[in-house]
């Protein structure tokens, strides 16, 4: 059933035939007292200041002027900020592209043949010297048996003049 706000009635006040409130005597006395108090208070505390309508109008106009004036600088500042962010982002992106290095995991940990097939050109830069020399073709540590791995480490240790590194 849809909500019908008319179902909720305010507590009805007693009314006279003319539609005015039918107040008991004590409430009528309170009503009169309220009216008297309001008159008394307003006489006792008159407004200290005249209405500052001229000032109010001037404030409103100046606020509108400031609003209009501040729109252009705000646009410039916003545009400059966006351009700066875009330029910084572009620069960082270009720098990251230029300095990108291949990851070693792509080269040495994959046991499958397809990964090995892509490695030869990059391998000398990563594992120079003795490691690269025995096998200029595809080389993957995943393909080496334990004795072969041990032999490889021995070769690296015997050649102290050549700086080498192995990554897993």
């Amino acid at each position: 059933m849809p909500f019908d706000p008319r179902l909720i009635h305010p507590d009805d006040a007693p009314l006279r035939a003319d539609g005015d409130l039918d107040l008991p005597d004590d409430l009528s006395a309170l009503a009169e007292q309220l009216a008297d108090d309001a008159v008394h208070l307003s006489a006792h505390y008159p407004a200290n200041r005249e209405p500052q309508v001229a000032l109010a109008a001037e404030l409103v106009q100046s606020a509108e002027r400031i609003k209009r004036r501040s729109w252009r600088p705000a646009t410039f500042v916003g545009g400059a900020a966006i351009a700066s962010v875009a330029a910084i982002g572009l620069t960082l992106s270009m720098w990251a592209t230029a300095n990108r290095r291949p990851t070693t995991t792509d080269l040495v940990t994959s046991p499958d043949a397809s990964a090995s097939a892509t490695a030869p050109d990059e391998l000398p830069a990563l594992i120079p010297g003795a490691l690269a020399a025995p096998s200029p073709t595809a080389l993957s540590l995943g393909e080496l048996s334990a004795p072969e791995m041990e032999a490889l480490f021995d070769l690296l240790q015997r050649d102290p003049n050549h700086a080498s590194s192995i990554s897993f």
Partner: protein, 187 residues
């Protein structure tokens, strides 16, 4: 400005708006600010007035909105001030020069200090009816509620006021006819 002249409107209606502000917020300094701000809003938003109601009922609407906003915004501060306020005895003898204390005492003697404890709807209806002498139809227009609701709020507002007085141990029949009779020192 359009449908009215700002200066003329202020000249005609500032006194009544100030009086309503006074009984709404209960002290002359806030009443001044509230009345001024009402006319500031009039200056700023006067172009939206379409003449469907009289200008003074529109002004009362602005005033009541500002009053509600202030009460919300400074509710906590007002509660703190009330602690100080309640510690100020109503029947304390004031000495010449103690203007602030005299003003507090003056206000506390009036029934409007009790009206301030009523719910917003009842309080505003009582202000518009008994301070501003608006007709029920005008009050309904300002408060944007049905006529029956206005009468109900007034009736229950008065009943609530009587209950507050009873709780304070006062008999409404014993209230002075004019609470400011002996307050020549406060002028």
């Amino acid at each position: 400005m359009g449908l009215f002249d700002l200066d003329e409107t202020a000249r005609q209606h500032f006194a009544r708006i100030h009086r309503a502000a006074l009984v709404l917020c209960g002290n002359p300094w806030d009443a001044d600010d509230l009345a001024q701000e009402t006319f500031l809003v009039l200056a700023r938003q006067g172009s939206t007035f379409q003449g469907r109601s009289s200008i003074y009922t529109w002004l009362y609407g602005i005033l009541l909105n500002l009053d509600r906003r202030e009460r919300r915004r400074y509710g906590m501060r007002r509660r703190k001030l009330r602690v100080l306020w309640d510690n100020q005895p109503a029947d304390v003898g004031t000495t010449p020069g103690a203007d602030a204390a005299a003003e507090v005492t003056e206000w506390k003697k009036s029934l409007w200090a009790r009206v301030a404890k009523l719910p917003d709807g009842q309080r505003q209806a009582l202000v518009l009816r008994f301070s501003e002498s608006l007709r029920y139809e005008e009050i309904a227009e300002v408060l944007e509620c049905p006529l029956g609701t206005v009468k109900s709020r007034i009736f229950h507002g008065l009943a609530g006021l009587r209950r507050i007085l009873e709780e304070e141990g006062e008999d409404a029949r014993r209230l002075p006819a004019n609470p400011g009779e002996d307050l020549s020192h406060a002028v």
